[in-house]
Every structure is written in structure tokens, then in C-alpha cells.
């Protein structure tokens, strides 16, 4: 049944594509696109919900005539969870796109957008359901390519083309690693169905390395993250929302799948590798997010940071498995999945809100923004709420994930007791603390600078807040709050997904973990409710106090300065400068300071810009070197016939000498 609904949604998408292909009317195109995605997302929602409620995986098998391939669809709890996320976000983003692309210039570009959106949507759902290596990889590549075209939507801009290229490179490179990975896993298999995969024992570590690189590229683990901060600003905001909300989660999904195939004892290296990678990812991600000035770039880096948190959850899980500390492991995986859901919801809503900002102001540079709340109050409210949530603060759902991760670390350290355990716990905890406070700083900065205070540059803001613009934001934010308070209600699904996927878990440990979850998540919910009700209570009290008092408004107190202007506000870069200054040895933010004027001060300017660390120290030099070598090599083909024939002669002689010549 679940599969049937999914297939139904794909058929729907196919029909929609046909329509779009032949239609020429703009309005109808737009409408059909939106409606199709919305309906098919409903189908997918129903399908995954069916599986979750019915409580048993749903599958469908059909032989397929390509090497190692078979059409093997399977929805287990894990897939169902991710599919739910996809359905919710995909549908809402489609709704948002209706408003966002309403003034799109040509019908052709509209239909292009929608067709590729269908492709991406269907591709992701396929990735979550495909249960055969070849099938999975085809879906994977389809997803990547369609998203590449979506990134290129505003292709007339040179930056966009560059970003698209980088994105294509990243995703293709990642896929190469996956090819090798599946090739190894599927060696001496007729058909690469997932349930047949097993590990050659001596290759375990390389296999996980391959998986980490291949899937980590999509998930945005450092140092394979470079495409995110390029592609997200370049893509239209709904696309970034879908990509950052769901698509990068496919990397996490893949990693969990790879974990689910192993039987027997897991090498310790896996957990340590994963933890190391993802803690670096998280910390560096949040630091970059603190340093950047581009609205969507900041959001992209915050995605990277959250991927780091998720990765740490997985890492703790793996480590716990290999140390046979079951409870910690289960808590880690559960934390990771919780965080996946949370981040999907909130990051997509943030990207959508940033889309509204872009649409209103046509700039992504937050130093030029400010005071937008008064212009777009609903969006402002939701952006504030989402920032609050994504900073991982209670009672939003972001906190649940981090809290569970913290619990996992705690139980790991308390039950493990060896020095390595403590060190692991230390690493995770420190990076968790840095990420937590860092993201609070980052998002107070973002929200405060963009929406609060006064506009820093007078821009022509044409206000757009139709219902299609705000409804998705409300729903996403609201869902997040509900998940945060009612996490106990979601826990069974997430935990079920974890238990059904992770191998080698004793029944007793599962039970203990369940009790721990109950002990913690319920009070969390209570506290959340308490917090909300207290807030409301105080607001009531205040209204009552201020009922018969003088409430005046006057300009901001600026210590007696008579003519405060909006340019006197604290800038975004100086807001986080002190923090970055601590890490300047690592990050090397480029500073430029102009100061004309001798005795008497005149116009002076000071700017700091932060370039991506990895890009600077790793990729740029690499590309430069290869290009230099290539230029050298080009000299071999200077157009002289004689030289060419000389090559032939030399090749002949060399071959004869190497492969024949033995001294008589």
C-alpha cells in the first residue's frame, strides 16, 4: 500500500511533466506545477504514514535488465521517516514557490523550474526507497543532476554558473566514491540488493572511509562541504530550502544504511573517524557562519554545522556499538535522527524567509539590511522563531536532539570509563558547547541585524506577504515547536527507525533506552509547556500593570548624542569580531584598513572578510597545480609533424626495448 501510494505520486509527477512539456500558458503552467507537487507530496506523506502506522516495512521487487540492477523498492521505518520529512518540506516549498516565482518572466523558464523540481522531488523519494545498489545510484545521480539544473535556474548570472559548476563537481566526485564503495560491497554478487551486501572484513575501514567521503560530500561534511556555501546562495531560495532541508539529508540516510549492513563487531576506527570528521565540521561550520556576511551563505554554513551535530550523533552511536555500550549508541542514533527532522524543518523555513527578504530587498549582504521586521512582520516573527529554534534552545525541537546527544555522551563516559571514552566525550562535549553558543551568537546576529534595529541602507522594499508566502513558514515553525514540546510523542517513531536499522542491539538495552527516553523527554515537554505558559502569564501581568501607566515612545537613548543615524548601529562583522579574533590564527580573516588624514581624522574604513578555510588551503592550490602541469603538457602538441612522428618512433623503440630487448 505504501509503495502503491509512492508509485502513484511518481505517476502524478510524470503526468505533470507531460503537461508542462506541452503547455504554453504561464499561469496554467505555474498552477499545474504547484498542484502536482502538492498532491504527490500528499501521496508520499500518506504512504510513509501508512508504513509507520501499520508497523511493518512495505516492499516491491521487479527484476531489471541492467548489470547488477533490480527494481527493488522498500519502505522501512528509516525511509518512512525521511519520506515524511520530504513530503512535508517538498509540499510546502512548492506552495511557497507559487508566490515566489509568480512574476517569472517566461513560461519556458517556469516549466523548466517545475520539471526539474519534479525530478528532484521524485529523485529524493526514490533515493529513500531504492533498495538496490544500481537503482539507488541512478536515483542518486538523477537527484544530483536535477538539483544542479535547479541551482542554475538564474543562469544568466556568472556567479550562479560558477556555483553550479562547483556543485556539479562536488556531487559527481562524491558519486565516484560511492561507485567504488558499492563495487566493493557487491563483489561476487549477481544483483546488488541492499539486503545481500556484506563486508569483506579486512576492507572494513576503507569501506567506511569511502562512505564518509561519498555520502559526506552530499551531507556537507568538511572538507567536502565547499559546494554548500556556493550553491545555496546561487540557487533560488525555495530550491535552497529543499536542498538544505531534505537533499543533504540523503547523505545521512546513506551513512545510516551503510551502518545497517554490517554484522559482527564494528572496528573502533569507524566511530572515531566519524566523530573527528563531524566535530571539525560542526566547529568550523559555526565559525564560518559567524564570519560571513551573505545571508544565505550564513544559512549554508549553519547547515554544515548542524550536519556536524548529526554526524557526531552517528559517531557516538558507532563508537558505542563497537564498545558495546548499547544505551549510549542508541541514544546517539536517536539524537541524530531527531536532529535530522528538526534541521530539515527549520532550515527550510529559514531559507524560505530569506527568500522573502531577497525578494523584498534584492540584496543578500546583511550589512546593508536592517529593520525589516516593520516591513514584513509575519516573516520577521517566523524568522525570529526559527533562529531561536535553530540555535538549539528549548523548547524548540533543536534542543531535543542536542539534549539526547548530551545524554549519550554522558552515559558513554559514565559507563565506558576508559580514557578513550572520556576523550571522545570531551571532544564531543566541547564541540557541542562551542556549536551551541556559537549558533546562538550567529543567529542573534543574523536575526538582529537583518530584522531588528533600523535599515542600514535605504532600499526600496516592496512588501510581499501573501498567504502563499507565510503559510509554509507558519506550518514549519509551528511543527518545530510542537515537535519540541511533544517530542515524547515522536520518540517511538524515531526510536523504532533506529532499532529496526541498527544491527546488533540486545533487547534489554533497547528497553533501558526506552525508559531513559521516557524519563527525559516527558519532563522536557512539561518544562516547555511551563516556559510557554510563564511567558504568556508575564505578558498578561505586564498588560495589567501598564494598563493605566504612561507608555511613550522616543528615539533610542544614545548617551546624549543628538542626531543618532542608522549608520551608527553596530555592524554584523563587529558583532562577532571578538569571537573570531580568538580563532584568527586558524581562520585568517582578511582585514583591510583605510585611513586617510594626517593629524585630523578623515574618512576611515575597516572591513574584515572571511574566506573559506578549506577552499583556501586545500582546493585552490590543488587546482592551481593541476592547471600548471596541464599547461606544461600542452607544449607536447606544438603542431610540428616531425615531432609527432618522433613520438611514434620513440614509442616504438621504447616498447621494443622494454618489452623485448634482453641483452644477448
Amino acid at each position: 500500500m505504501g509503495i502503491l501510494l509512492l508509485v502513484g505520486s511518481w505517476i502524478l509527477l510524470g503526468i505533470g511533466t507531460l503537461f508542462l512539456w506541452f503547455l504554453r500558458n504561464k499561469k496554467v503552467t505555474h498552477l499545474i506545477g504547484t498542484v502536482t507537487v502538492f498532491l504527490s507530496s500528499l501521496f508520499i506523506f500518506g504512504g510513509s504514514l501508512w508504513v509507520l502506522i501499520q508497523g511493518s516495512p512495505d516492499e516491491y521487487y521487479l527484476p531489471w535488465n541492467i548489470p547488477f540492477g533490480s527494481i527493488y523498492l522498500r519502505i522501512d521505518f528509516l525511509s518512512a521517516l525521511f519520506l515524511l520529512l520530504l513530503a512535508v518540506i517538498g509540499g510546502l516549498v512548492a506552495l511557497y514557490s507559487y508566490g515566489y516565482f509568480f512574476e517569472e518572466r517566461t513560461q519556458r523558464s517556469l516549466s523548466r523550474y517545475w520539471i526539474f523540481y519534479f525530478g528532484l522531488f521524485g529523485g529524493i523519494s526514490l533515493v529513500f526507497t531504492a533498495y538496490n545498489g544500481v537503482f539507488f545510484l541512478l536515483a542518486w545521480e538523477g537527484m544530483s543532476i536535477t538539483s544542479f539544473f535547479l541551482v542554475l535556474h538564474e543562469f544568466t548570472n556568472k556567479e550562479v554558473r560558477k556555483a553550479g559548476w562547483i556543485y556539479l563537481m562536488a556531487t559527481h566526485g562524491g558519486t565516484a566514491f560511492l561507485l567504488v564503495l558499492f563495487g566493493i560491497l557487491g563483489s561476487d554478487l549477481e544483483v546488488w540488493d541492499f539486503n545481500m551486501f556484506q563486508y569483506p572484513a579486512m576492507l572494513a575501514t576503507p569501506i567506511f572511509l569511502l562512505a564518509c567521503i561519498g555520502f559526506g560530500t552530499k551531507a556537507g561534511f568538511m572538507p567536502f562541504h565547499v559546494w554548500l556555501p556556493e550553491a545555496h546562495p546561487a540557487a533560488p531560495s525555495p530550491v535552497s530550502a529543499l536542498m538544505s532541508g531534505v537533499m543533504i539529508k540523503t547523505g545521512i540516510y546513506g551513512l545510516i544504511r551503510v551502518i545497517s549492513w554490517l554484522e559482527g563487531d564494528i572496528p573502533l576506527s569507524w566511530g572515531i573517524l566519524c566523530i573527528g570528521l563531524s566535530s571539525v565540521t560542526g566547529v568550523l561550520g559555526v565559525l564560518h557562519a559567524l564570519g560571513k556576511k551573505d545571508l544565505k551563505e550564513i544559512l549554508a554554513y549553519s547547515s554544515i554545522e548542524n550536519m556536524g551535530i548529526i554526524g557526531m550523533g552517528l559517531g557516538i552511536g558507532l563508537y558505542g556499538l563497537s564498545r558495546s555500550l548499547g544505551i549510549g549508541a542508541l541514544l546517539g542514533f536517536t539524537a541524530a535522527l531527531f536532529h535530522v527532522l528538526h534541521h530539515g524543518l527549520l532550515k527550510s523555513s529559514l531559507f524560505l524567509a530569506s527568500g522573502t527578504v531577497l525578494h523584498a530587498t534584492h540584496t543578500r549582504n546583511i550589512e546593508e539590511l536592517g529593520g525589516l521586521w516593520k516591513k514584513v512582520p509575519k516573516t520577521g516573527t517566523l524568522f525570529g522563531l526559527s533562529s531561536f529554534g535553530i540555535a538549539g534552545l528549548p523548547p524548540m525541537s533543536g534542543f531535543v536532539g542536542e539534549f539526547l546527544l548530551f545524554l549519550a555522551v554522558l552515559s558513554l563516559s559514565i559507563q565506558g570509563k576508559t580514557i578513550v571514552d572520556i576523550l571522545i566525550a570531551l571532544i564531543v562535549l566541547i564541540s557541542l558547547a562551542v556549536i551551541g553558543v556559537g549558533s546562538v551568537a550567529c543567529f542573534t546576529r543574523l536575526f538582529g541585524v537583518v530584522f531588528l534595529g533600523e535599515p542600514r541602507k535605504e532600499k526600496t522594499v516592496h512588501l510581499v506577504e501573501g498567504w502563499t508566502w507565510t503559510i509554509p513558514l507558519y506550518l514549519l515553525g509551528g511543527m518545530n515547536l510542537v515537535l519540541g514540546i511533544g517530542s515524547i510523542g515522536l520518540a517511538p517513531l524515531v526510536f523504532g527507525a533506529v532499532v529496526s536499522t541498527v544491527p546488533g542491539i540486545a533487547y534489554q538495552t533497547a528497553l533501558d533506552t526506552v525508559t531513559i527516553l521516557q524519563q527525559t523527554l516527558f519532563p522536557l515537554g512539561v518544562l516547555g509547556l511551563l516556559f510557554l505558559s510563564l511567558t504568556i502569564l508575564f505578558s498578561r501581568i505586564w498588560n495589567w500593570i501598564l494598563k493605566n501607566r504612561s507608555v511613550e515612545t522616543s528615539p533610542t537613548w544614545d548617551c546624549g548624542y543628538t542626531r543618532p543615524t542608522s549608520r551608527m548601529q553596530y555592524t554584523a562583522s563587529s558583532f562577532t569580531y571578538p569571537i573570531l579574533r580568538v580563532f584568527r590564527r586558524v581562520l585568517h580573516p582578511a582585514e583591510s584598513f583605510q585611513w586617510e588624514g594626517n593629524l585630523f581624522p578623515r574618512a576611515a574604513s575597516y572591513t574584515t572578510t572571511l574566506h573559506d578555510l578549506i577552499l583556501r588551503i586545500l582546493y585552490r592550490p590543488l587546482v592551481r597545480t593541476i592547471t600548471r602541469i596541464a599547461r606544461r603538457i600542452h607544449a607536447l602538441q606544438e603542431g610540428k609533424n616531425q615531432v609527432y612522428i618522433l613520438y611514434i618512433a620513440l614509442t616504438l623503440i621504447l616498447l621494443m626495448v622494454i618489452f623485448l630487448g634482453e641483452v644477448p
Binding site: 535488465n65 559527481h172 561507485l179 602541469i629 612522428i645 614509442t651
Partner: protein, 475 residues
């Protein structure tokens, strides 16, 4: 019977050389192309036994079919193309037919000597086609092509002689089935020399680096349908020569030795192509270098053998289809923009949507990304490498493929999506928007075939391919 495949185009060619009226010539071209492919089909249905000179074994059938199919597509394209070059029709068509005849001879010849003659004939038949445009560059390209390939072919002839001597008195002549049967009675010393000579000789024609130097020039200067044939069929024919020799070598127990040389050539071609594709300024040269890369992949796959060998044969089909269709599309772009310079081609997608679509699809195809066939075959080859645990080769292979992908992607994106500056229309008086059928139907057909091969690889085909070389490993 098999002779018909050779004689028929020969006949048509001489006819079209004699009667110089371009209309008649076009009719001849269409008729001949269709007839040839029909006969090829018929040969599939009713297999025929060969004689001492010509025969049709699976390998030959493979090459023959690919050639014939491509020729058919090219026929449709060229009729449209020659509308703008009426005066050169008869010569071009004649040479096309002779070229076809030579290539068919290559694929049906059962005697190494005859094979050699045929390969040389392809050179002679295609040289005038490269000189189609009759300007400095095309002349230079033709001259280089002629000289380099003749040198190579001379070496291949030496190979023949050595092979015959390796046979000694035991084997009479160069009849391939004989050689295969008595392969173990060949004198290995002479056989080795013979193989090296074959490899260098036919390898020059096939465009294995560092013997590839003629290839970019010829492909970039020839009219696009000719480039399509050169890259799609001629290279295969040259490869057939190597394959024949390697087949004999395998049976005489020198597989390892010969395989290593092939792998060497494959790796060098991959690396060279990847490096030359960086900072390329001419999109037809870009395609040519990608051909070099794919030839490298073929050599690598065959050299490694096993599953990779089968993959290589599949890759041969896919590459021919994809590359020829890419060249046809490049021809369209050349017609529109009157330039081969990548930077001065802008905004394809706005001006010529169909061509842009095909160009993008073709990029995905030749860069080996799904859902096109090359992904499948490249992947099978990779699987073969993994099975034989050649980790270094795997790294080189993937790295080279990645660099190729990166550079081609860069050019294609900038050509397809860059903002079309109006100056292009103004400056190029010959700029046209409408895309007639002949321009996009043949490439579209080819593209769809590659697409199908990417999503559905018939088991029959796979087993056919893996049966070509005994012990080549199936799936």
C-alpha cells in the same frame, strides 16, 4: 555474400563520383545508406559463413553494425548539410561511400593482410573528406593525418610480416581462424614483436596517446558529419585490428604480457586526454580529446580483461553513439555561430533550445553520467578493475574521468547557459534561429539509443559481448 557489404558502397561511390549532379548524388547517398544498413540487419538475421578472405564473426558484426548505423544517421545529416555546399556534393558523397566500403571491409576481413589493406584504405578514403573545406587549416590537418597514419600503417604491415613468420611453416597465411586455432604453435618471440608493431601501427590510427597527435587536428577541421564518422567508426576499425592481434596473443598464452602494454597505453591516453582538456579553447578539439580518453578506456578495459573487457566492448558501442551525436550537435553550433571558439559561443539555450538540450544531454552522456549508456559501461569497467583489485588503476581511472568531467562541464556550462550578448547576433550575419529537422533528428535518435542503453541493457547483448572473447567474463 559478405562482399556485398563492400562492393555495394564501392559501386555507389564510383557512381556518385562519375555523375556529378548533386541531386542524384543525394538520392544515391540516401539509398546507399539505407541499403547498407538493411543488408547489415539481414546479415544479423541470416548468418553467413565466410571464405578464406572474408567472414563475419561476432566481433566483426559488432563493428560492422555500429558503423552501418552511424553511417545511416550521418547520411540524413549530410544531406541537410550538403545543401549549403552543393558544388562539393559529388566528391564528398563519393569519398563517404569509399570510406564506408573500406570500413566494412575492415570489419568483415578474415585475413590480417586484407584487414591491413582495408585500414590503409580508410585513411586514403577519408583524407579528402578532412580536406573538405579547402583552406589552410584543413589542408594541414589532412596532410598530418595522411603522413602520420601512413607511417603507423607501415609499421602495422611489418607486424603482419612478423606474424606470418611467427607462424612458420605450420600455419599457412594469415587466415585469422587458423591463427586462432594454432595460436599456441606460434613462435612467441616473433609474435611479441608483431603485437608491438600492430599496437603502435593501429594504435596511431586509433588515437592512443602519445600516438594520437593527428586526431584533434583532423576531428576539428573535418566537417562535422565526417568527424562523427571518424570518431564513431574509424577509431573502432583501428581498434578492431588491435583486438584481432590481441585475440591471437591471448590464445598463445601471452595475455598478461600484452594486457600490460594495453593498460600502459590506456593509462597514458587517459592522463594525456585529461590534461589536454584543461584550458581547451576549441569545442571540436575538446570532443576529439574526449575520444582519446575513451579510446584509453577501451584499451584499459581490454588490457585488464575479465569483466572489464566485456565492459570495454559495451563502452565501444556507447562511445560511438554518444560521440558521433555530440559531433553532429557541434556541427549545428558551428553552423549557427560560425566559430569553434568556446568563449565566443554564448547563450545556446536562449537562441537554439533544441541544440542546447542535445548539447547538454550529450555532455552528460560523454562525461559518463547517468542515465546514459556510458555510465553503465564505464561502471562495468570499474567493477572489473575492482574485481581484479587494481587499486592504483582505479585511482588513475577515476581521477582522469573526474578531471575530464570537470573541464568539459566548465566549457559546456559556459556555452549553454552564458548570457547571450546581442553582439553575437549582430556580428554574425549568418546567425540563424530556426533549427531544421536534419539538424536535430539524427542526433536525437542517437541520443535516445544511448539513453536506452543506459537504462536497459539487454541480457542478450551482454552475453553476446562476453562471448566474443572466450573467458572474457560475463555478468
Amino acid at each position: 555474400m559478405a562482399w556485398i557489404l563492400v562492393i555495394l558502397p564501392l559501386l555507389f561511390g564510383s557512381l556518385s563520383l562519375i555523375l556529378r549532379n548533386h541531386r542524384i548524388v543525394w538520392v544515391l547517398l540516401l539509398f546507399g545508406g539505407i541499403l547498407h544498413s538493411v543488408i547489415t540487419l539481414w546479415v544479423w538475421i541470416r548468418p553467413i559463413e565466410g571464405n578464406s578472405l572474408v567472414f563475419l564473426d561476432p566481433l566483426g558484426m559488432l563493428i560492422l553494425t555500429v558503423t552501418s548505423a552511424l553511417f545511416l544517421m550521418v547520411v540524413f545529416y549530410s544531406i541537410g548539410y550538403l545543401k549549403n555546399h552543393k558544388e562539393r556534393s559529388s566528391l564528398t558523397v563519393g569519398c563517404l561511400f569509399l570510406f564506408l566500403a573500406a570500413m566494412s571491409l575492415v570489419s568483415v576481413s578474415a585475413d590480417m593482410g586484407l584487414l591491413w589493406v582495408a585500414v590503409e584504405a580508410t585513411t586514403l578514403a577519408s583524407a579528402p573528406l578532412i580536406y573538405f573545406h579547402k583552406n589552410h587549416q584543413s589542408l594541414e590537418a589532412a596532410w598530418k593525418y595522411l603522413l602520420i597514419c601512413s607511417v603507423g600503417i607501415a609499421l602495422a604491415l611489418m607486424g603482419n610480416i612478423f606474424l606470418s613468420y611467427a607462424g612458420g611453416d605450420s600455419i599457412e597465411g594469415l587466415y585469422i581462424p587458423d591463427l586462432l586455432q594454432n595460436a599456441n604453435r606460434l613462435d612467441p618471440r616473433w609474435l611479441k614483436v608483431a603485437f608491438i608493431l600492430f599496437l603502435v601501427g593501429y594504435g596511431t590510427k586509433m588515437g592512443l596517446a602519445p600516438l594520437h597527435s593527428w586526431l584533434p587536428d583532423a576531428h576539428s577541421e573535418a566537417p562535422s558529419m565526417v568527424s562523427a564518422l571518424l570518431s564513431g567508426s574509424l577509431l573502432n576499425c583501428a581498434f578492431l585490428g588491435i583486438l584481432r592481434a590481441f585475440g591471437i596473443l591471448r590464445l598463445s598464452g601471452l595475455e598478461e604480457w600484452g594486457g600490460n602494454i594495453l593498460i600502459l597505453f590506456g593509462v597514458s591516453s587517459l592522463i594525456m586526454a585529461a590534461l589536454f582538456l584543461i584550458q581547451q579553447t576549441d569545442f571540436k578539439r575538446m570532443l576529439a580529446y574526449s575520444s582519446v580518453e575513451h579510446m584509453g578506456i577501451l584499451a584499459l578495459g581490454i588490457g585488464v580483461g575479465g569483466l572489464a573487457g566485456t565492459g570495454a566492448l559495451l563502452h565501444l558501442i556507447n562511445h560511438s553513439l554518444a560521440k558521433s551525436f555530440m559531433f553532429l550537435v557541434a556541427g549545428n553550433i558551428l553552423v549557427f555561430y560560425q566559430t569553434k571558439n568556446i568563449d565566443s559561443v554564448t547563450g545556446l539555450i536562449q537562441k537554439t533550445p533544441k541544440t542546447a538540450f542535445l548539447w547538454m544531454a550529450g555532455f552528460l552522456a560523454i562525461a559518463g553520467s547517468p542515465p546514459f549508456g556510458l555510465f553503465m559501461s564505464e561502471w562495468i569497467i570499474l567493477k572489473g578493475l575492482i574485481d581484479s583489485e587494481q587499486w592504483v588503476l582505479i585511482i588513475v581511472y577515476l581521477l582522469a574521468l573526474f578531471i575530464v568531467f570537470a573541464s568539459i562541464a566548465k566549457y559546456i556550462i559556459s556555452m549553454t547557459f552564458s548570457d547571450s550578448s546581442p553582439t553575437v547576433e549582430e556580428s554574425k550575419g549568418s546567425f540563424r534561429r530556426n533549427e531544421p529537422l536534419w539538424m536535430w533528428v539524427p542526433p536525437f535518435l542517437l541520443a535516445s539509443v544511448t539513453l536506452i542503453l543506459g537504462l536497459y541493457v539487454p541480457q542478450a547483448l551482454l552475453s553476446f559481448l562476453s562471448a566474443i572473447f572466450p573467458g572474457m567474463g560475463g555478468i
